[in-house]
Every structure is written in structure tokens, then in C-alpha cells.
């Protein structure tokens, strides 16, 4: 099987805080990986490192056997890796269509992007993507006026338009009610399978992680606590993962 991501001895520290300490693992093409772990474990940090939004303090990240640090042209990088991080990632002031079309910015020159603000370009991409996430009628709605679940789907639509090989998702379903949460996860997994994408998502809910993903990587205090196929994770594993240090 082909390696999609391989990280070796990655560390990340903020001024006073070590968020990740020498992490190593490999993810194959087409794998569905869930990142779990208590609050502050380093899930967001790890995903941001993979998306090159943050630089690592130490260690190497290989994407398709190529060092991530050499993928400096972010137009090209956008074709490889895409990230969705809840509704915060959308520009609330713009209509939905522009937020979705932002997935095509890597293809556009300056002139076309300025023009698109006035008359949306490549519209059919956005329409297709929105149909797939079930939001056909909201094309010209102001994004911030949508409900949380709808915004989540707009972010998903952007990712569809961008269609990267690797999809990173940071708590894609936090703050959605149970029905909507499953809906979004299902869609995310379905698309990943259809397009043969590699998917890495961080989740708070162990239940969902087990249900939708092949492999669970648990982080705790910046280290890998376990890294197992979904089927072999036991309740004991989970209990010790989330155990509080200080009981009050």
C-alpha cells in the first residue's frame, strides 16, 4: 500500500508549553483515521502541522514521500492537502457561493479572482458541490446567517471543490446535535471513499470514532497513547485515556 503521510519524531512547543513531543506514525493512502484524546492533548496542533499552517519545532513530515517543507507553493499544496476546521473557517460576511468557490482560488489568477467577486466564476463547481452536501437553495445566502450545521456543510462543499488528496478535519461535528453530527460524518467518509482520499479527523466522541473510522490514534499530553484499528479499541483503553488526574 502507498504511504500518504509519514511523520517522524515531530515535536511542537509554544513559548511555555510543549504541545507535541516526538510523535511518529505513518498513514496509508485511503485510510480513515480518527484522532481522539482529552482536551489539550494536541489534536488541533497535530492537524495544523500536517496542513502546514504551523511549522514543527522538530522532526519531518513527508507527504507522498516528499518533505512538506518543500511543498512551499501553496497553490500546489492545496491540491494535496485540504483542512476543514468547523465553521470558524468560513468568511461569514460573504455569500455561500464565494466561500465554496474559495476552493478554486488555487487555480485562479488575480484578475479572475477579482472578477469573481463581481460575477461568480466557475459557478457550476459550486453548484455541484452544494448539491452533494444538500444545500442547493442557499447559494446566495450570507454565510453567517446559516445554522451551525449548514455552515459545516458549506465548509465541506469548499473542500469538495478543492478536492485535495488528503483531507484533514478538526472536530468537524462539535456543537452539532446528534442527528446532524452523524449526517456530516457519513458524508465526509462517503466522499473520502468515493474519491479515494485519505481522511484524518479529530473527534471528541469515541462512539463516532469507532463507528466511522478504520483506525484510532489517541493522543494524551502531546504523546501517542495508543494507535489501534478501530475494532481492537476496548473500553478500558478509553477510560484510561480520559481519566482525570486530579479528582475533585
Amino acid at each position: 500500500m502507498q504511504e500518504a503521510i509519514s511523520i517522524t519524531q515531530i515535536s511542537k512547543s509554544y513559548e511555555r508549553k510543549i504541545a507535541l513531543s516526538s510523535l511518529s506514525f505513518t498513514v496509508n493512502k485511503g485510510e480513515l483515521v480518527a484522532l481522539i484524546g482529552p482536551s489539550g492533548a494536541g489534536k488541533t496542533t497535530l492537524l495544523n502541522l500536517l496542513a502546514a499552517i504551523l511549522p514543527p519545532s522538530q522532526g519531518h513530515i513527508l507527504i507522498d514521500r516528499q518533505p512538506l517543507s518543500e511543498l512551499m507553493d501553496h497553490k500546489k499544496r492545496a491540491k494535496k492537502i485540504g483542512i476543514i476546521r468547523q465553521q470558524f473557517d468560513l468568511v461569514g460576511e460573504l455569500p455561500v457561493i464565494h466561500n465554496v468557490l474559495a476552493g478554486r482560488l488555487s487555480e485562479w489568477g488575480i484578475f479572475k479572482s477579482i472578477l469573481s467577486m463581481l460575477v461568480p466564476q466557475d459557478k457550476e463547481y459550486a453548484v455541484q458541490a452544494l448539491i452533494r452536501v444538500g444545500l442547493t437553495d442557499k447559494l446566495y445566502e450570507k454565510t453567517s446567517s446559516l445554522s451551525g450545521g449548514e455552515q459545516q456543510r458549506v465548509a465541506l462543499a469548499r473542500l469538495l471543490v478543492q478536492s485535495p488528496e488528503i483531507v484533514l478535519a478538526d472536530e468537524p461535528v462539535a456543537s452539532l446535535d446528534p442527528a446532524r453530527a452523524e449526517d456530516v460524518l457519513e458524508l465526509l467518509v462517503k466522499i473520502a471513499l468515493e474519491e479515494n482520499q485519505t481522511l484524518i479527523a479529530s473527534l471528541h466522541s469515541v462512539e463516532y470514532a469507532r463507528k466511522y473510522f478504520d483506525r484510532l490514534i489517541a493522543l494524551k499530553d502531546g504523546e501517542i497513547f495508543f494507535d489501534l484499528p478501530a475494532s481492537s479499541v476496548t473500553d478500558d483503553h478509553i477510560n484510561s485515556l480520559y481519566r482525570l488526574k486530579e479528582l475533585s
Binding site: 496542513a51 502546514a52 499552517i53 501553496h74 497553490k75 499544496r77 492545496a78 491540491k79 492537502i81 485540504g82 483542512i83 476543514i84 476546521r85 470558524f88 473557517d89 468560513l90 468568511v91 461569514g92 460576511e93 460573504l94 464565494h98 474559495a102 476552493g103 482560488l105 488555487s106 487555480e107 485562479w108 488575480i110 479572482s113 477579482i114 467577486m117 469548499r158 478543492q162
Partner: protein, 266 residues
Amino acid sequence: MDKRWLNFELHKRKILTLILLLAFMLSLFFVEWHSNLIHSGGFITAKQIAAAFFTPDLSGDILLLALESSWTTLSYAAAGMSLVIIIAFFFGIFASGILVSEGKIKRYIRPLFRGQLGIMRAIHELVWAWLFVASIGLSSFAAIFALAIPYGGILGRIFADMLEDIPREPIKALEAAGASKIQALWYGYLPMVRASITSYAMYRFECAIRSSAIMSFVGIGGLGYQIQLSLDDLHYDEVWTFVFFLIALVLIIDLWSNQLRKRLVQ
């Protein structure tokens, strides 16, 4: 008492309030309150001015003059603002440093433009006006430039601050989706600050009207000039007429900007 209660962090605002209060009280000692501070006829004059407030001069030619002067005042303010917007847009973007990546260039560009904006707004528009009149002569442009420079400085600085203060997540997401700096500006920064910068610019427009009114001091006509003339002739009733026109102008802009803001943020 608990030592932690004496923490600076907990009380710093109270301390600042106290310092400000002290400074104010100290300033009061500079005025000799015992000597009579009002002109011997000051009260009478005050009464006359107050009485005129209720009986403004509403005769036809005064109203016509007021209307004409209102347009002069408004047009100088609007012309000035058109320059202000251009200045603020370009200076603001450079002063916020969002177009250059972290590193050496940013370390110089940002303070350079911020300092430039600082100097522009340090000097009051009337002083700028006087500097212009004394150097390039009495001209309409002197008044417009005098208005545009400090206002450009203020608006530019606010614009830069707004650009720097917006949440980073959407921008990072755009960049992760392959957007260049200019595309990020166009699709992220500008839409996100649009509502707040518009309402601030409208507020500045309102201020510009007042400033354009007082440009009479360097020879521009308008409401301020009329107020000055009427005051020179001690025609308080005319003064109030012109002041009411000025208030109306300001009020219209204020209402307009309120409506605009309401619609932009909804």
C-alpha cells in the same frame, strides 16, 4: 488580609481610574476659582444667546444663505473624504503588514507606514490648513488637502488595526485552500472588515462635516464662515439658524450611517 487580594492585576483598573481622577482634580487648581471668571456682562450675554436659541432667524434670505453654505460645507467634506478613503486604503493595507509574509520586510514596512500615519494625524486639520495656505496660497485645495491628511491618518490607522484584529482562522483556511496574499485580501480580509470600516468611515464623514465647517478660518465659505460673521455682528439669532443647519447635516449623516451599519451587520 489575603496577600493575593493585593495583586496588581486585580486592581489595575481601579488604580488607573484613581490616577485619572487625581489628574483631573489637580488640573482644577490651575484656575483661580475665587476671582470672577465670567465677564461682568457675561451672564447677560449668556441670557441673550440662550434666548436667541428659541428665536432663530428664519427669514427667507438667511435660510437660503444657510442652505447654500450647507452645500459648501458638505461638498468640501465629501471631496475631502474621497481622498481620505484612497489614502486610508493604501496606507492601511501597508501599515497592517498583511500583504507581506513574516520576516525582515514586514519588520520595516509596518512601522514605516504606521509612523507615517502617526505624523499625518498628529497635526490638527486647521493647522495643516494654515500650513498649506501659508505655503501654497489660499485655494480650495488647501482646505481639501488639509482635511484629507489627518483624516487619512486616522482612518488608515483604524483600517490597519481592523485588518490585524480579525480572526485568523478563515484566512488560514483560505491560504490552505491555495489562496495567494492578494486573493486572501480580497476574499477574506476585505469582506470581514467591510461592515466595521464602513461604519467607522461614515463616522469620520460626520466629523469631516464639522471640520469642513470650521475651515472658514482659512477662508473657505460655508456654515462656519456664516456663524463667524453672525457672531462678529452679535446676531445670535442668525448664529443659531446656521448651527441648526449644521446639526441637521450631522444628524442626517448619523442616521444614514446607523441604517447602513444595521444592514451591513445583519
